[in-house]
């Protein structure tokens, strides 16, 4: 058994394709951390000019109006005076805090600023979020901005109470661990799961090439399949090494951050505008949950590849099935569809691992059913079903792993 494991292990890591995958991933990570990450330009940044421009325009307006007789003016003038009088002190506090370099005070004022601004901007028609949210053809700009403002409000609220050192890089999510968090909410899970699929894809079919060596191992076929799956899983874990290298590179440039940084997550979808729309967990918790879900996905993909290898015996078929699982969600995903369909029952809905953990996927789907626990249960059940099917085939006396 141990001999066979070593044999598979050596074959796995000397496979030209696998080496190419690790190299490509490493290259992509280094490129990202040296070129893309430093150029990150968030919409919600700490920008004195932006705050000042807005503050001064509004202050001038208030001064002008204070000198005028307003009888018979348009009602929106009164509305503007009310709102500006209310919000301007917060902008002033933010500016003062930045002047003094008091980041904790800045965080406190900013948190309230986001909350209040959100409450009078969403679906208002006279007020708008940061113009960068609105690009040509984006239908959901306002909803995205609404969520982002809530998220920022919560994040700054936690920063205001923080007992660790604050920095601008921390506010703008530039530190290495926060970069990883952003990536997990973005394309990284699909890339990692796709790499795991490519790594595992020929783990059974490669045996065609040297059938004679394999006869030297007197092990039952189903045991061989398990060893292969285990090796592929270990190979999947090795994928995290390039990611760690990337974290070190980004960390040396803009700080590492730490695992206590707050990560807001979405809690409800019914009672808009209510306190407690978002809650927070620590970054360490976020990573743990993401890692668990990712591992579950690796296991699912590997077992599906094993099953399809023993059934179809063709690598392209493996690839196609794997791709369908990874990209299956795109066929039915649309905003708010969770309100009508039980999307939480499809395992493919959990592919965006980071978005599932931070629950923003629930916001997109307009459902509160997609949870990490249920996702893991669902994926685990699918794995068990696939493994049972595989065992039924492998224990059949007419089954031969290599034809």
């Amino acid at each position: 058994m141990w001999g066979y494991f070593k044999f598979e292990w050596v074959q796995f890591f000397t496979n030209k394709k696998n080496v190419a995958i690790y190299c490509l991933l490493l290259f992509a990570v280094i490129f990202y951390s040296l070129r893309v990450a430093p150029a990150y330009d968030p919409i919600e940044k700490v920008d004195v000019d932006e705050i000042e421009a807005r503050y001064l325009t509004r202050a001038t307006f208030l001064q002008d109006m204070a000198m005028k007789d307003l009888t018979g003016s348009h009602p929106s003038v009164f509305m503007a005076i009310d709102i500006f009088n209310y919000i301007n002190p917060y902008d002033q506090k933010r500016l003062d805090a930045l002047d003094r370099g008091d980041l904790s005070a800045y965080a406190e004022a900013t948190s309230e600023w986001y909350d209040i601004t959100n409450s009078f901007t969403y679906q208002n028609g006279s007020f708008f979020y940061n113009p960068s949210y609105y690009t040509y053809g984006s239908q959901y700009a306002e909803d995205n901005a609404f969520y982002a403002y809530f998220e920022n409000a919560k994040r700054y609220e936690m920063f205001a109470k923080a007992d660790y050192d604050l920095s601008i890089a921390l506010f703008e999510q530039r530190t290495a661990l926060q970069t990883l968090e952003r990536l997990l909410n973005g394309p990284l899970p699909v890339i990692l799961i796709g790499c795991a699929l490519l790594l595992a894809i020929d783990i059974v079919t490669k045996d065609r090439r040297n059938p004679t060596i394999l006869r030297g191992f007197p092990i039952a076929d189903w045991k061989k399949l398990f060893v292969k799956g285990f090796v592929a899983l270990l190979g999947g874990i090795v994928l995290f090494i390039p990611i760690l290298i990337g974290i070190v590179i980004i960390g040396l440039q803009s700080g590492f951050g730490h695992f206590g940084i707050p990560v807001p997550y979405y809690t409800a979808n019914v009672n808009w505008m209510q306190e407690g729309l978002l809650d927070v967990m620590s970054l360490g918790m976020f990573f743990t949950q993401c890692f668990l879900l990712l591992m579950m996905w690796f296991i699912v993909i590997i077992t599906v590849v094993l099953l399809s290898s023993v059934v179809f015996r063709n690598e392209l078929v493996n690839l196609a099935i794997g791709m369908l699982i990874i990209f299956g969600e795109n066929f039915y995903f649309s905003r708010g569809v969770g309100f009508f369909w039980s999307v939480e029952n499809y395992p493919t809905s959990y592919i965006q691992v980071g978005q599932i953990v931070s629950k923003i996927r629930n916001y997109y789907y307009m459902s509160d059913q997609l949870t990490v626990e249920f996702g893991i249960t669902l994926l685990f059940t699918s794995t068990v079903i696939v493994v049972i099917l595989m065992m039924v085939i492998a224990l059949n006396s007419r089954f031969k792993m290599v034809k």
């Binding site: 030209k16 394709k17 190419a20 490509l24 028609g125 007020f127 708008f128 113009p131 609105y134 690009t135 040509y136 053809g137 984006s138 239908q139 700009a141 306002e142 490519l198 894809i201 020929d202 065609r208 090439r209 179809f312 015996r313 063709n314 690598e315 392209l316 078929v317 690839l319 196609a320 369908l324 795109n330 066929f331 039915y332 995903f333 649309s334 569809v337």
Partner: protein, 371 residues
């Protein structure tokens, strides 16, 4: 030769990969229908609402002043205000199903945007509006529809509009799909090399038969697309002569049928290109995945680094996503590059010639060996 061809065909018929590829094409066609339904593509009201928000967001960058004809607002401000009210009217015409009026308001918006490009401070709001080339194409499109006067708005889930939609998206994926399909074109036979060695044919002849069989399958993929779309005939046929605005050096109008026709032509040309390239990579690298990686990297480089397009404009890989070139996307880059599919056909044909030459001269002596 004929015998070799027959045997090649026999081998391919028993290959599960081919049947599976056809199955994938079917899945993608049906998936696309589902996608149109779930994303509400072609639902004018939803799309125009995004336009309306854009207009509102653009106006938020200006101070609110008198926007009437003789008001003290800037020209751009007045223009944007007119656009906003025109978009509102457009949504109304859609809701009340008045196609002629819809085309008129759309043309009016395109005209207003055309004027706005030359006004001062336009770069402030440029992100919120379509690019100049896109707008010029819209102008042409709606001018035709207004003058024609007899056409309605197309439903995306009718037969021809669906095919048009499908063929206007397929460009990005066709290259990837064909490179998947052909990535192991020779490798399969390295495994039963004894079969091929049984009769003496030259390597170039063998490759030729191989290409013909693969090409027949590629033709059948395209036929499968048309067949799978047939159920949509229940919804209605749609208008096969409905215009499409494209860019071929200058904005022009094609009919739906013409567009599908040239689409298929480009797809076949690209397939030959990919097939020959796969053969070269197969012989050099002797590994399916390395072939695939090289394909995908070369294909995605121009997308990831648009500056490359300006640096080497006549790289054949810039023309693989032919729908983008037909939409005039290269003109929207920060440094516009004027490449058209006519040049693309020429470049791809020349590359095919060069690759044929390489295969003939350098690989013809090589015996087929087991890896």
């Amino acid at each position: 030769m004929i015998r070799a061809f027959k045997i090649g065909l026999m081998i391919e018929l028993t290959n599960r990969k081919n049947m599976f590829s056809i199955l994938i094409v079917m899945c993608i066609v049906f998936g696309c229908m589902f996608y149109i339904k779930s994303q509400a593509i072609g639902d004018g009201v939803v799309e125009k609402r995004a336009d309306f928000y854009s207009a509102q967001a653009a106006l938020s960058k200006f101070q609110v002043v008198d926007a009437s004809e003789n008001g003290d607002g800037s020209d751009l401000y007045k223009n944007l205000n007119q656009q906003k009210s025109a978009v509102a009217l457009q949504i109304a015409t859609l809701k009340f199903e008045q196609p002629p009026l819809y085309f008129e308001t759309s043309l009016r918006i395109a005209d207003l945007r055309e004027k706005a490009f030359d006004l001062e401070e336009y770069e402030k709001v440029a992100d919120l509006y379509p690019s100049r080339i896109k707008n010029t194409m819209n102008q042409l499109y709606y001018t035709f529809l207004v003058e024609d006067g007899s056409r309605g708005i197309q439903e995306p889930l009718h037969y021809f509009p669906f095919l048009l939609y499908f063929f206007s998206l397929i460009g990005a994926w066709w290259y990837v799909f064909i490179s998947f399909y052909t990535s192991s074109i020779l490798l399969d036979d390295f495994e039963h090399s004894s079969l091929i060695k049984g009769f003496p044919i030259r390597f170039d002849q063998y490759i030729f038969t191989k290409c013909i069989t693969a090409f027949l399958y590629i033709l059948s993929f395209i036929v499968v697309i048309f067949i799978c779309a047939l159920p949509l005939l229940r919804n209605g046929q749609g208008d096969a002569r409905y215009p499409v605005a494209i860019y071929n050096g200058e904005p022009a109008l094609y009919t739906t049928l013409q567009y599908i026709g040239i689409g298929i032509f480009y797809m076949l040309l690209i397939s030959i290109f990919v097939m020959l390239f796969s053969i070269i990579l197969n012989v050099l690298l002797k590994n399916m995945y390395l072939t695939l990686f090289v394909h995908v990297i070369l294909f995605s480089l121009p997308t990831m680094f648009p500056a490359l397009i300006q640096f080497i404009p006549y790289n054949p890989f810039h023309f693989m996503n032919f729908n983008q070139v037909l939409r005039g996307v290269p003109l929207e880059l920060t440094v516009p590059v004027d490449i058209t599919m006519n040049v693309g056909v020429l470049v791809i044909s020349i590359s095919i010639g060069i690759m044929l030459f390489i295969i003939k001269t350098f690989f013809s002596t090589g015996k087929i060996t087991r890896t």
